[in-house]
Amino acid sequence: MNSRIIPIMRKEFIHIRRDPRTLTFMFLIPVIQLVLLGYAATTDIEHLSTAVLDYDRTPASRELIDAYRVSNYFDINYYIDDEEELTRLVDGGRVRAGMIIPAGYSRSLDRTHKAEVAFIIDGSDPNVARTAFSAAQGVGQAQSVELIQEILGIDPEEQPGIEVRPRVWYNPEMRSANFMIPGVIAMILQLLTTFITGAAIVREREQGTIEQLIVTPIRSFELVLGKVIPYVGIAFFDLSAVLIVGVFWFGMPIHGSVPLLLALALLSLLTSLGLGLLISTVAHSQMEAMLLTFLTLMPSIFLSGFLFPIEAMPLALQAISYIIPLRYLLIIVRGIILKGVGLRLLTEQVIAMAIFGAAILTLASLRFKKSLE
């Protein structure tokens, strides 16, 4: 029964072996993607370049500047002499924040226990601005508390009040890499497989070899499985490579079960294979197959929660996100890797993936048969 799948697979492996460039790309792309997203696309905001305009120049003003410097959020790169220079630095993008300490800061503090400092933030990137804003306030409040304790002569240990102690689960250091790597894994499973499947079948059409294959007793499913299994193998190899780089290079912990992860990854491949197959029935050339894959790539990246939280999206887009398979896969992969959850808590997503897979694959097989015309 399956005897005809094996020769197709063997042939596909020869194609892959004879074309080492594509093979290299298939391995390099995910790793490059991972490194880029792990480092560059990090949303951790620290070490913002900052300028200080200190009109006061007293030990008190220097103490305040020091408090900002040691907070790790701000790197004091410029000590400047007038406000115009600050404007220039912000406009030129050299600094993201600037602090102006007025003359008489120290005197006012001594006399009235009150003083004002101006803090300027470049708001063009709202993410950065928000972090800078709260960090600037936080440092200021901490300084105020110290001041109050000093004035009232309170021992910090006995200070009354409510202390909130936030604890971050799963990713205590809140490192972006830990969040990104599972995302990259999900992307590889979905998009790389979709593209490769589409292109591999379109290639037979481009070369005209499909005509010869159709007149053999081979069945559509044998042809499709035979062509696709080698690439599934490669997708799994990529997946392992990314996991290894993630764990050993970025120090990402895997809390859940690896076998479960692999099993559900296999389930998700039904969808991407089906999608690739569907693309192959529409595309006339490998180029078209690539463009069509890109078309599915865009909504997948933006609406699946890969980069932006779904809860923060407008309702209409949230609704659309339900028909994006990557959404479910991301929950599964992040859940298993970061939270260590088991099958029981992922039931909803697993069922969704299964339904997607079955539906797309059925549709694709129906169309695939017809497209041989």
Partner: protein, 311 residues
């Protein structure tokens, strides 16, 4: 019993009717040649008969199986070589053969033996390890043929198998086909080479989706009206113009520096032509009557059809 039979077989695409109510019967053991101008519907006919495409109307049976209802049964019995070179260029000769043997589930010692025979008769033994896209055009065609023969098909469909192939390879290729024919394989071949059409047991001439003539080569050639005179005039364009205007000429065809003139009576025609051309100062070399070949028949029959269509 007929091995291929069609009944009003029709295939319509958006704009054109590629195959138009085709009724064709091919007996077991025939070499049937399909000829016709570009776009006459030959390739579509092949695709309908090999059950790759479903007809819009009508039906066809191959080896008794219906092409729409039982395509899988047909695929086991036939070999098909499409017009475009369709082997895997990055696979070697041997890898291509093994691949098709596996697809057709030819296994074990039978597979090895079969491949050895095919390599031998296609004279590709020395090139087993060579990648298919590094073979010459003629060798590629032979390899494609070998691949379609790996499961010993009863019926072989060959769509312009020798296009772009040099005369030596073309001759070798047809020798292989003749051997297959002697072994009892039924062959359906399309070709732009009229000398190849003459080697067929019957020839079908297609034009705009219709089969306009279907008979033995001798009889097809017999359909040419009149007798044919070959001459080498100097200068040719002037001679051509004069003869076109002469009421005694049924048809004039140019073959390079030669003119073929169709007349009712060869002997009389030659005498008339001689005087006619001499009076216009045209010199003539080697005028003689020739037996019409398939080539003349083809051109003449298609022209007649085109003229009828224009009326």
């Amino acid at each position: 019993m007929a091995i291929i039979e069609t009944e009003n077989l029709t295939k319509r695409f958006k704009k054109v009717t590629a195959v138009d109510r085709l009724n064709l019967t091919i007996e077991r053991g025939e070499i049937f040649g399909l000829v016709g101008p570009d776009g006459a519907g030959k390739t579509t006919t092949f695709r309908l008969l090999t059950a790759i495409m479903n007809p819009t109307e009508g039906r066809a049976t191959v080896a008794g199986y219906d092409t729409v209802k039982e395509p899988e049964e047909i695929k086991k019995l036939i070999g098909y070589m499409p017009q475009r070179f369709s082997l895997y260029g990055d696979l070697s000769v041997m890898e291509n053969l093994h691949f098709f043997a596996d697809i057709f589930e030819v296994r074990g010692t039978e597979r090895e033996e079969r491949i050895r025979t095919l390599l031998h008769f296609s004279r590709l033994e020395e090139f087993q390890g060579r990648r298919a896209d590094h073979l010459s055009g003629g060798m590629q065609k032979k390899l494609a043929l070998a691949c379609t023969l790996v499961h010993k098909p009863q019926i072989l469909f060959l769509d312009e198998p020798t296009t772009g192939v040099d005369p030596i390879s073309r001759r070798e290729f047809w020798d292989i086909l003749s051997n297959l024919h002697l072994e009892g394989v039924t062959l359906l071949v399309s070709t732009p080479y009229m000398d190849e059409a003459e080697r067929c047991s019957r020839v079908g001439l297609m034009f705009e989706g219709k089969m306009i003539v279907c008979d033995e080569p001798e009889k097809v050639k017999g359909l040419v009206r009149g007798e044919v005179i070959e001459l080498r005039p100097q200068p040719l364009p002037k001679a051509w113009e004069i003869i076109e205007g002469w009421e005694g000429a049924l048809d004039v065809q140019v073959y390079g520096g030669l003119l073929h003139v169709f007349v009712e009576d060869g002997e009389r025609g030659m005498r008339q032509l001689e005087t006619l051309l001499a009076s216009h100062g045209v010199t003539v070399e080697g005028m003689h009557q020739i037996r019409p070949r398939m080539e003349e028949a083809f051109v003449s029959l298609i022209r007649r059809e085109q003229e009828d269509a224009a009326l």
